[in-house]
Amino acid sequence: MATPALQAANPLRLPHFRTADVTIVSLLWLILSVCGGIYLPPRTGWFVIALLMVVYCLFLGRWISARPLGILVNEPI
């Protein structure tokens, strides 16, 4: 299934998120990243921030493409 691409966007497609979800997760991500960066030891903090970035990417994929790895899916050419 190479060159994955989407069919033309369906204008009636419902969003896969609610604004409240996005706001809460985004704020939580920011707060945890900053706290991890400040209070954890350097190497542990780095690992936690990297993990949080990956998790946030999974959320973005879920919200926008309805699947966690959606951030890796190509747009139609």
């Binding site: 060159t3 994955p4 400040i38 890796l72 190509n74 050419i77």
Partner: protein, 190 residues
């Protein structure tokens, strides 16, 4: 799913998380020292080159493939792909974009896409240039992650922190890999 997106995200997460972590810690610890430069975190030009190479692949791939959306695939090629993929010919023709194979729905995208050919003629086969780029990316990211891990032994020099410098060989290796990846996309397979 796209290999160029995967490698771009890998480098972004690796470098930005390290930069963010070091910057926050240096600001927290060194802010009381008026002589210190807490956010003086230097990145060698080779690091920018690595990010540039990744970005070039991300932007270059759709540019190269867009020229193939106006071409018609050979009927014989479509028949062969249909037989190899065990899909109806009509479905492949309906979903294709020119000579490019395309998933009908976003739910059909999978990790295997990262290693398959882009065109109808080679979608049933492994694209070796993609496998090579995947390995190079994994090796380079892990090697640089280890270098960063070692460098984080001391992140509080008052004059600044330098991110580890990748070797010329690493940059050349990734450059060649990405060049092969992009060149293989220009070749006609349908």
């Amino acid at each position: 799913m796209s290999l160029s997106r995967f490698q771009m995200m890998s480098w972004t997460v690796l470098l930005l998380s390290a930069f963010f972590d070091v910057a926050l810690k240096r600001l927290h610890v060194l802010s009381s020292n008026s002589a210190a430069l807490p956010i003086n975190i230097s990145m060698d030009w080779r690091l920018w080159a690595l990010m540039g190479i990744s970005a070039t692949s991300l932007v270059g791939s759709p540019l190269i493939l867009s020229s193939k959306t106006n071409q018609e695939p050979q009927p014989k090629t479509v028949d062969k792909a249909a037989a190899a993929l065990n899909e109806p010919v009509v479905d492949i023709q309906r979903n294709s974009q020119g000579t490019l194979y395309s998933n009908p729905r976003i739910a059909d995208a999978s990790l295997i896409d990262m290693f398959q050919g882009d065109e109808i003629g080679n979608t049933a086969y492994v694209d070796v240039s993609k496998v090579q780029m995947f390995y190079f990316t994994i090796v380079a990211v892990l090697a640089y992650a280890y270098a960063l891990y070692s460098a984080m032994n001391d992140i509080y020099p008052a004059r600044g922190f330098a991110m580890p410098t990748p070797s010329d060989a690493l940059v050349a290796l990734l450059g060649i890999s990405h060049a092969a990846y992009l060149t293989s996309k220009t070749t006609q397979h349908s």
